[in-house]
C-alpha cells in the first residue's frame, strides 16, 4: 500500500505500521518502503514517516541516509515551522555519519531569525551531544550564543541544553544571570523548572550564605516563622530584611535579592514541579526569615495526586528537620486520612514526628493513638516507632509514651506487640533503673511473641539488665535453651549474649545452661553463630590457657552501652539538592550536580554586569540607543500600518525585558536614568558607575565616527524624519543640549534602520518569508514592546497583551472599573504644545464604557509641585455611551519627574488622578539647519551600506 499513488492508502498503511511500533512489535523490515515516502506531500503521512524514521534509523543507518536530503531542503524553507521541524527530525536521527551535517544545521539554526527555530536548535544540542560527545566544544559555543538570546521561548530550552552538555561551565551564566531572572516568569513552565534549578546552583557559588549569622539571630528567626503569612507583603519583608541587615554585617547581593524576588510569584504556579523548584530555591538560598513563604505552597501540593504528595512529603520531611518552625502552623495538614495509601501515611507520620515539640506533643500523641487502631498494620508499626522517637526527643513525655507502649504489649496483634517491644527496648536503655517492672512484664511475653526481632530485643534487655531481674533471667535462659534450635538466627545470637552475661554475673545458677547453649551453637548451621559461640567460650569459660582477655570479660560484656539515638531517616538528606531525584533516592543519581557549599567570600559581583560592549555585537551597540530614539520619532509615520500578524508582534514582545537591559547603558548616557533604572530592575542601580564608563566610551566612538564622514543618498528622507523631533518639548537643561543634538541626529538617521533591522531580526518571526517582512511593521511593534520594556519589566503579561495599539505607549489614567465605566488613558504624543512652548503635550483619551452618557468632563483642583503648571483641556460637554474622544492638555513638569495630580470630574463623580512623566517623554525640540543635519547624519552613515527602501516619508521639516 505504501507504493500506492493514493495518499489515503499510504496513510492507512502508515497508521498500521505506527500501531505496530506502538505495541512494541518489530517493523524494521518495512524501512525501505517507508523511507521512500519521506517526501510525501500529505502532512499526516509525513509526520508518521518521521515517527517511524526516528524509531528505526539507528538500526538501519545506511538507508536512513536516503532521507537526509529531504531534511536539508527543509532547513532552507522560508517557513520557520518547517525549518524547525526539519531540524527536529534531523537531529533525532541517531546516525553518527551525519554528525557534521547536524552540527552545521544547529549552528545555522542558532542564528536563525525565528526564535522558534532557535528553540529547536537548543533542543538539538543535547541530542547531538549524546550522539557524539566529542563535539562538546563546538556545542558550548552554540550554547553560549543561545544563552545570550533574549526570548522567553529559547531561554528554557537552552538552559536545558546547558545542563546536559556543560553544567560545570558556570561562568557562561554570569552575563545572562539578570536576564534569566527577569525573563523567568514568562518562560514556559518546564523551562522554569530547569532554570530555577540551575540558578540555585549558580547562586550557591556566587553569593554569600544569608544565614551566616544564623546562631546569633536564632530567636529573631523563630519569631518570623510564625508570622509568615501570605498576606505579609513585600514591603514588610524588605523592612525586616533591612532591619536584620543592620544588625549584622551581612548584606545581600542585589542579584541574590533579584532572584528571590522574581521566583516568589511562581509559588502560585499550577505546576507542582515549578512550585517545588521555587521551594527548594528558597530553602537553599533564602535567609531563614523568608523561607516561611514556601510552606503554604508546599502544603497546597499535598492536595494533589498521590505521586505528587509522595515526592513533596519526602522533601517536607527533610525540611522539617532543619526548619521545624516553618511547617508548625500547618501541622493539621499532615494528619493522616484513612484513605491515604500506606506509603503516604508513613511519610506523613515522619513529618508529624519531626514537627513534634513540647508545645504540640499532646495533640500529636492523641492523633497517634487513633492511628494505632488503624487496620493497616504496616502503618501501625510505623506509628509505634514514631511514638518512640517522640519519646526520645521530648523528655517530658517519655514516661507517658512508655506507659502507652506497655499497654500495647497486651494488644492482640502480634506485629503491634513486636514493634512495641523493639521501641520499648530502645526507650528503656535510656533509664533502665526505674523500669524493672516493665522488664519483668516483657520477660513474660517471650512465651507468646513469635516475631524474631521482638524476641531478640527482649532477650537483649534481660541480658543487659539481668542484675535488675536476678530471679527471672536464669529462667528465661532455661526456656530459650529448650527452643534454641528452632529460633531465628538473630534470636540465637541474643540467646548466646544472654547466656554469656548471665554466666558472668550469676555463674552458679547458669553455668550448665550456658555450656549447653554454647554446645548447641557450636554445631549451628550459621557460621556467624558458630563464630560467636567460639568467641564467647574462649572469653568467659576459664581454661588453662585462657588468654589475657578473659580477665576483662565482664567489662566487655557488661559495659554501659550508650542509648541508641532514634533519628529520622531524612536527617542529613539536605546535602542533596531538594526536589532532585538523588534526594528522593538518597543516593547520587547519574548526572546529578552537587549543590556547592556557600563560598567564604563572595566572588566578584561585577561579572554579572551586562556591558553593552561585551554582551551585544558591535553593530547593535552603536544602535541600541539610537534605535530607540529613532523609533520614537518615526512612529507617527508607521503607526497606521502596524502589525497585521500576530506572531510577529508576540514573538518579539518576549524580548522587551532584555532590550531594555541592553538599552540601559544608553539611557545612562542621557543622564536621565537614575530613577528609570530603578523601574527596570533594581539590581541595575549598581550599574551607575559602569554607565559612566560607557558614556566615555560612547563619546570615543562618536569621535571616531565623525572622523570618517560619508554622504548617503537618503539624506532627504532622513531629514524628513528628523523634522518630527522639532516638535518635542524641551525639558532638559541647556547644558545637555549639544549632546542631545548629537543623539538626535544619530537617532534620526534612517540608515540605522538597516542595522536596527538586523538587531531586531533576532526577535522578529516572519510569517511567510523573512526577506520581505515589511520593516515598518516590526519597527512599530517592536517599538511598543521596547517602550513597554522600559517601564514594565515587572508586570509580565500586561504589556504584551493589553497594549491597545503597537504605535504609542498608552498609560492608564483611570481604569474602567475604578472609573465606573469611564476609562481614561493618556499618552505623550510628542507634538509641540502650541499655547506654551514649555509645556509637554499630553493627549488624553476618554472612553465611555457605560451604557449611558457622561457629561461635563473637565479638570479641577490641580495639586502641583511648585513651578509646575497645567493647561487644562476644554471641557467636554457630553460623551455618549460607547464613544471615545481625545483631547490634548499641556503640563509643564519643570524638568522633574514629579507627578501632576488633579481631579477629573464628570457630572456625577470626581476622580483623583495623576500623570507622572516617564523620563524619556520629556523632550526638547531642536532646530537644525540642513547642513548641520547632514553633518550629523554623515557621522554614522558609513557603518551601514544598504538603507531600507521604504523609509521615505513626507512630513514637513522644521527649519
Amino acid at each position: 500500500m505504501l507504493d500506492s499513488n493514493k495518499d489515503s492508502l499510504k496513510l492507512e498503511a502508515m497508521k498500521r505500521i505506527v500501531a505496530m511500533v506502538a505495541r512494541g512489535k518489530n517493523a524494521s523490515d518495512l524501512f525501505p518502503a517507508v523511507v521512500k515516502n519521506v517526501a510525501c506531500k500529505n502532512i499526516e503521512v509525513k509526520k508518521l514517516v518521521y515517527v517511524y524514521l526516528v524509531r528505526y534509523a539507528e538500526e538501519q543507518q545506511d538507508l536512513a541516509l536516503l532521507s537526509i536530503s529531504t531534511f536539508q531542503r527543509g532547513l532552507k524553507d522560508p517557513n520557520q515551522l518547517i525549518r524547525a521541524s526539519a531540524l527536529r527530525v534531523l537531529s533525532s536521527i541517531r546516525v553518527t555519519i551525519i554528525v557534521p551535517i547536524m552540527m552545521l544545521a544547529i549552528k545555522e539554526a542558532a542564528s536563525d531569525m525565528s526564535p522558534y527555530v532557535r528553540k529547536t536548535a537548543a533542543h538539538a544540542i543535547p541530542k547531538l551531544y549524546s550522539l557524539d560527545p566529542e563535539q562538546k566544544d563546538q556545542l558550548i559555543e552554540v550554547i553560549e550564543k543561545l544563552l545570550a538570546d533574549k526570548t522567553t521561548l529559547v531561554a528554557g530550552s537552552v538552559v536545558m541544553a546547558f545542563e546536559e552538555v556543560c553544567p560545570e561551565r558556570i561562568e557562561l551564566i554570569h552575563k545572562n544571570y539578570r536576564k534569566l531572572c527577569n525573563l523567568l516568569i514568562d518562560v514556559e513552565e518546564w523551562g522554569q523548572v530547569v532554570i530555577i534549578n540551575m540558578l540555585t546552583r549558580y547562586a550557591r557559588t556566587q553569593f554569600l550564605n544569608p544565614n551566616i549569622n544564623e546562631s546569633l539571630l536564632e530567636e529573631g528567626g523563630e519569631k518570623e516563622f510564625y508570622a509568615s503569612d501570605d498576606d505579609e507583603d513585600d514591603e514588610e519583608k524588605k523592612a525586616e530584611a533591612a532591619a536584620l541587615a543592620k544588625r549584622k554585617p551581612y548584606v545581600m547581593d542585589p542579584d541574590h535579592r533579584l532572584l528571590l524576588r522574581n521566583t516568589k510569584p511562581l509559588l502560585q504556579s499550577r505546576n507542582a514541579a515549578v512550585v517545588m523548584a521555587v521551594a527548594q530555591l528558597y530553602f537553599h538560598l533564602a535567609p531563614k526569615a523568608e523561607v516561611g513563604v514556601i510552606a503554604k505552597a508546599l502544603v497546597r501540593l499535598l492536595r494533589s495526586h498521590s505521586e505528587v504528595q509522595y515526592v513533596v512529603l519526602q522533601n517536607v520531611a527533610t525540611m522539617t528537620i532543619k526548619r521545624r518552625g516553618m511547617f508548625e502552623p500547618h501541622l493539621k495538614s499532615f494528619y493522616i486520612r484513612s484513605t491515604d495509601p500506606t506509603q503516604i501515611k508513613i511519610l506523613k507520620l515522619e513529618v508529624l514526628t519531626n514537627l513534634a515539640s513540647e508545645t504540640n506533643i499532646s495533640t500529636i500523641l492523641r492523633e497517634f493513638q487513633t492511628y494505632i487502631k488503624s487496620m493497616d498494620k504496616d502503618f501501625v508499626a510505623a506509628t509505634i516507632e514514631a511514638i518512640g522517637r517522640c519519646a526520645t526527643n521530648i523528655g517530658e513525655v517519655r514516661d507517658t509514651c512508655l506507659n502507652g507502649l506497655v499497654q500495647l504489649l497486651s494488644n492482640r496483634d502480634e506485629l503491634v506487640v513486636a514493634e512495641s517491644v523493639v521501641v520499648i527496648k530502645k526507650l528503656l536503655q535510656m533509664q533502665p533503673e526505674q523500669h524493672s517492672e516493665i522488664i519483668k512484664h516483657m520477660a513474660k511475653l517471650i512465651d507468646n511473641i513469635q516475631v524474631p526481632m521482638a524476641r531478640a530485643s527482649i532477650l537483649w534487655l534481660i541480658g543487659e539488665y539481668c542484675e535488675h531481674v536476678p530471679k527471672i533471667a536464669p529462667d528465661v535462659l532455661r526456656k530459650m535453651a529448650k527452643t534454641f534450635t528452632n529460633e531465628e538466627d538473630i534470636v540465637k545470637l541474643q540467646i548466646l549474649n544472654l547466656a554469656a552475661k548471665l554466666y558472668l554475673t550469676n555463674s552458679k545458677q547458669t553455668k550448665l545452661l550456658t555450656q549447653y547453649v554454647l554446645n548447641l551453637a557450636k554445631y549451628d548451621q550459621n557460621y556467624d553463630i558458630r563464630d560467636r559461640a567460639r568467641f564467647i567460650r574462649q572469653l568467659i569459660v576459664p581454661t588453662d590457657k585462657s588468654g589475657a582477655l578473659s580477665k576483662y570479660a565482664k567489662k566487655l560484656f557488661l559495659a554501659l552501652k550508650p542509648a541508641p539515638v532514634l533519628e529520622s531517616p531524612f536527617k542529613d538528606r539536605d546535602h542533596f539538592q531538594l526536589g532532585s531525584l538523588s534526594h528522593l533516592l538518597n543516593t547520587k543519581a547519574g548526572g546529578y550536580q552537587e549543590l556547592p557549599e556557600w563560598p567564604d567570600s563572595a566572588p566578584d559581583p561585577s561579572v554579572r554586569n551586562v556591558e553593552v560592549k561585551d554582551s551585544v555585537p558591535e553593530w547593535s551597540k552603536c544602535t541600541s540607543r539610537k534605535e530607540r530614539k529613532e523609533k520614537k520619532v518615526e512612529k507617527p509615520f508607521y503607526s497606521d500600518s502596524e502589525g497585521e500578524s500576530g506572531p510577529t508582534e508576540s514573538a518579539d514582545s518576549g524580548n522587551y525585558g532584555d532590550q531594555a537591559v541592553v538599552a540601559l547603558g544608553s539611557w545612562n548616557i542621557l543622564k536621565i536614568s537614575k530613577t528609570h533604572t530603578h523601574v527596570l530592575c533594581a539590581s541595575f542601580t549598581s550599574d551607575q558607575s559602569s554607565g559612566e564608563e560607557q558614556k566615555k566610551e560612547r563619546k570615543g566612538v562618536k569621535q571616531r565616527r565623525s572622523g570618517s564622514e560619508s554622504e548617503s543618498e537618503e539624506e532627504s528622507e532622513s531629514e524628513s524624519s528628523e523634522s518630527e523631533s522639532g516638535s518635542e518639548e524641551d525639558s532638559e537643561s541647556d547644558t545637555d543640549t549639544r549632546k542631545k543634538k548629537k543623539v538626535w541626529t544619530h537617532a534620526h538617521h534612517p540608515q540605522h534602520c538597516h542595522s536596527q533591522q538586523f538587531l531586531l531580526s533576532t526577535s522578529v518571526a516572519p510569517t511567510s518569508s523573512p526577506q520581505v517582512t515589511p520593516v515598518n511593521n516590526f519597527l512599530s511593534s517592536s517599538l511598543a514592546s521596547d517602550l513597554e520594556g522600559l517601564s514594565l519589566t515587572d508586570t509580565v503579561l500586561a504589556p504584551t497583551t493589553i497594549a491597545p495599539s503597537a504605535s504609542v505607549r498608552m498609560y492608564e489614567l483611570l481604569h474602567r472599573i475604578t472609573g465606573e465605566g469611564l476609562g481614561v488613558e493618556y499618552c505623550f504624543n510628542r507634538q509641540a504644545f502650541s499655547p506654551d512652548p514649555h509645556m509637554v503635550a499630553v493627549q488624553i483619551h476618554f472612553t465611555n464604557n457605560t451604557s449611558c452618557e457622561t457629561k461635563n468632563l473637565h479638570i479641577e483642583e490641580p495639586k502641583l509641585q511648585s513651578g509646575m503648571r497645567i493647561k487644562e483641556f476644554p471641557e467636554i460637554d457630553m460623551l455618549p455611551a460607547g464613544e471615545s474622544v481625545s483631547v490634548v492638555m499641556g503640563i509643564d513638569f519643570c524638568d522633574s519627574t514629579q507627578a501632576a495630580n488633579f481631579q477629573l470630574c464628570t457630572h456625577t463623580r470626581k476622580f483623583f488622578v495623576s500623570i507622572q512623566p516617564p523620563v524619556g517623554e520629556l523632550m526638547t525640540p531642536i532646530f537644525l539647519t540642513e547642513n548641520e543635519f547632514k553633518k550629523e547624519q554623515g557621522e554614522s552613515s558609513h557603518l551601514h551600506h544598504q538603507p531600507p527602501p521604504h523609509i521615505s516619508s513626507s512630513s514637513p521639516m522644521l527649519k
Binding site: S92, H123, R303, V308, G591
Partner: protein, 413 residues
C-alpha cells in the same frame, strides 16, 4: 530527561511504548512489576523505582500505569507532573483515559506524544496548541476521513506556539459567545466518634468553559476575595493584578480549563452540612455485630443535599451484612469488605437510616476497632465557603458574551 514511556494496564500488559531517545527494551518494566507485586495495591507502588541502569518514575491513573524511564538526574515532580499532563490530554482528546480509548486511537496518541516531548523535554503541553496540531477525533470526522481520506493532522501550522499567549489559539470564532464558570468547593473534614471536627478545610476550584471569539481580555472579580487563602493559577492569570487588586485578569484559553484553585482559610470554621449518628458494635460471642447509621442535614442554607453515599470499610472478619435501609440501597462486597450505602437526596422530614446485623467469621476474635465512615455528598448552587463571583468584564472585543456562574459544593474522597 524522559527517555521512554510505557503504558501498562492492571493486568500487567504493556500496551503502548514510546521512545524519545534510543530504544530501551521493555524488559526494564520487570523491575516495575516486581515493585508492583510487593506493593499489593496499585496505590502503594512507589512512584520512583531504582533499577541498575535506569530510574522508573510512574503514576497510576484511571487503572493505567504510566511508567517513564529516566537515565539521569531530573526532578521527579517534573516527570510526575508531565505524566499527569499526558493523562489529562488523553482525557481531553478521547473523553476518558481508558486502555480501550488509547488502543482505539493509538495513532493519535503517538502523534500527541511526539509533539509533547522532544528528546525527552516537554515541547507543547498546552491543549489549545495540540488541538491545532492534531485535531481530536469525533465520530463525524472519522466518517468524513474514511470517505475523503483527509486526516486528523491540522493543515494549518501552530502559530499559537510562537505567541506570548501560548495557551490560546488564534482566530477563534463562535456564533454564540459564552463564558461559564463553575465554582466547585470540596469539604475535607475528619470527624471523631462524637461528631466533633478534628480537621476541616475547604478547597475550591474554578473551572471555566470559555467560548469567546477573538482575543477577549476578561476580568473576574469576587465579592469577598479575602476568603481565599492560598491560590494557584492557570498561567494565563496576571499575577500582579491579583496581588494588587484581588481580581483575576486574564486572556482565557479556548474551551475548558481550570482557571484557579484555592484554599479557604480554615480559621473561620467550616460548616459541615450533615451530621451522622452511628452505632456499630460487635458482640464478643455469637460472631455477629450490629450496625445502625442515621444521617441528617445540618447547616445546608436551604439547599438540598444530593448524591449522598456512605462508604464503610469493614474489618476483615465481617463476612456479610444483613441490613435494611429506609432510603436508598446498600451493597456489601465480601471480598473487598466495603459497604456502600447509596442514599441519594437527603430528605429533611424522614431521615435515612441503615440498620441491621453483621455476621462475622466464627471463631475469629472480634475486631478491636470500629470502622470509619466515608461520606460523599453534593450540594448544588452553594459554595460552602460563601465565595461569590461579583462580576465578569470583557475588554478587547466588541460583542456581548453570555456569562454564567455555577456553584457546587462536594464532599468527595
Amino acid at each position: 530527561m524522559i527517555h521512554s514511556l510505557f503504558l501498562i494496564n492492571n493486568a500487567g500488559d504493556i500496551f503502548l511504548e514510546k521512545h524519545w531517545k534510543s530504544v530501551i527494551s521493555r524488559s526494564v518494566c520487570d523491575y516495575f512489576f516486581e515493585a508492583q507485586e510487593k506493593a499489593m495495591e496499585p496505590d502503594n507502588v512507589p512512584p520512583v523505582i531504582r533499577t541498575p541502569h535506569h530510574y522508573l518514575i510512574n503514576i497510576y491513573r484511571d487503572k493505567i500505569f504510566f511508567v517513564s524511564v529516566i537515565q539521569t538526574e531530573v526532578p521527579p515532580l517534573f516527570v510526575i507532573e508531565f505524566l499527569h499532563r499526558v493523562a489529562e490530554m488523553f482525557q481531553d482528546y478521547f473523553g476518558d483515559c481508558s486502555e480501550v480509548a488509547i488502543k482505539d486511537n493509538v495513532v493519535i496518541v503517538y502523534e500527541l506524544l511526539e509533539e509533547m516531548l522532544d528528546n525527552g523535554f516537554p515541547l507543547a503541553t498546552e491543549s489549545n496548541i495540540l488541538k491545532e496540531l492534531i485535531k481530536p477525533p469525533t465520530i463525524l470526522r472519522s466518517m468524513v476521513n474514511s470517505i475523503t481520506g483527509s486526516s486528523n493532522v491540522g493543515e494549518t501550522l501552530p502559530t499559537g506556539q510562537l505567541s506570548t499567549v501560548p495557551w490560546r489559539r488564534a482566530g477563534v470564532k463562535y456564533t454564540n459567545n459564552e463564558a461559564y464558570f463553575d465554582v466547585v468547593e470540596e469539604i475535607d473534614a475528619i470527624l471523631d466518634k462524637s461528631g466533633t471536627t478534628v480537621f476541616a478545610e475547604i478547597q475550591g476550584v474554578i473551572d471555566a468553559c470559555v467560548k469567546l471569539s477573538g482575543m477577549p481580555d476578561l476580568t473576574l472579580s469576587f465579592m469577598n476575595p479575602r476568603l481565599l487563602d492560598d491560590v494557584s493559577f492557570h498561567p494565563c492569570v496576571r499575577f500582579k493584578r491579583w496581588e494588587s487588586e484581588r481580581v483575576l485578569s486574564f486572556i482565557p484559553p479556548d474551551g475548558n480549563f481550570r482557571l484557579m484553585s484555592y484554599h479557604v482559610n480554615a480559621q473561620n470554621l467550616v460548616a459541615i452540612p450533615v451530621y451522622v449518628r452511628q452505632n456499630i458494635s460487635f458482640f464478643e460471642s455469637g460472631s455477629s455485630g450490629r450496625l445502625d447509621i442515621t444521617l441528617g442535614p445540618k447547616q445546608t442554607m436551604g439547599k438540598t443535599v444530593e448524591c449522598v453515599v456512605v462508604t464503610v470499610h469493614m474489618p476483615k472478619v465481617v463476612l456479610n451484612a444483613n441490613l435494611t435501609a429506609t432510603q436508598g440501597n446498600y451493597t456489601y462486597d465480601p471480598v473487598t469488605k466495603i459497604l456502600v450505602w447509596d442514599i441519594g437526596k437527603l430528605n429533611q422530614q424522614k431521615l435515612p437510616n441503615l440498620k441491621g446485623s453483621l455476621s462475622l467469621q466464627s471463631g475469629a476474635p472480634k475486631p478491636e476497632e470500629n470502622p470509619s465512615l466515608n461520606i460523599d455528598l453534593k450540594i448544588q448552587q452553594l459554595a460552602i465557603s460563601g465565595l461569590k463571583v461579583n462580576r465578569l468584564d470583557m475588554y478587547g472585543e466588541k460583542y456581548k458574551p453570555f456569562k454564567g456562574v455555577k456553584y457546587v459544593t462536594k464532599v468527595f474522597r
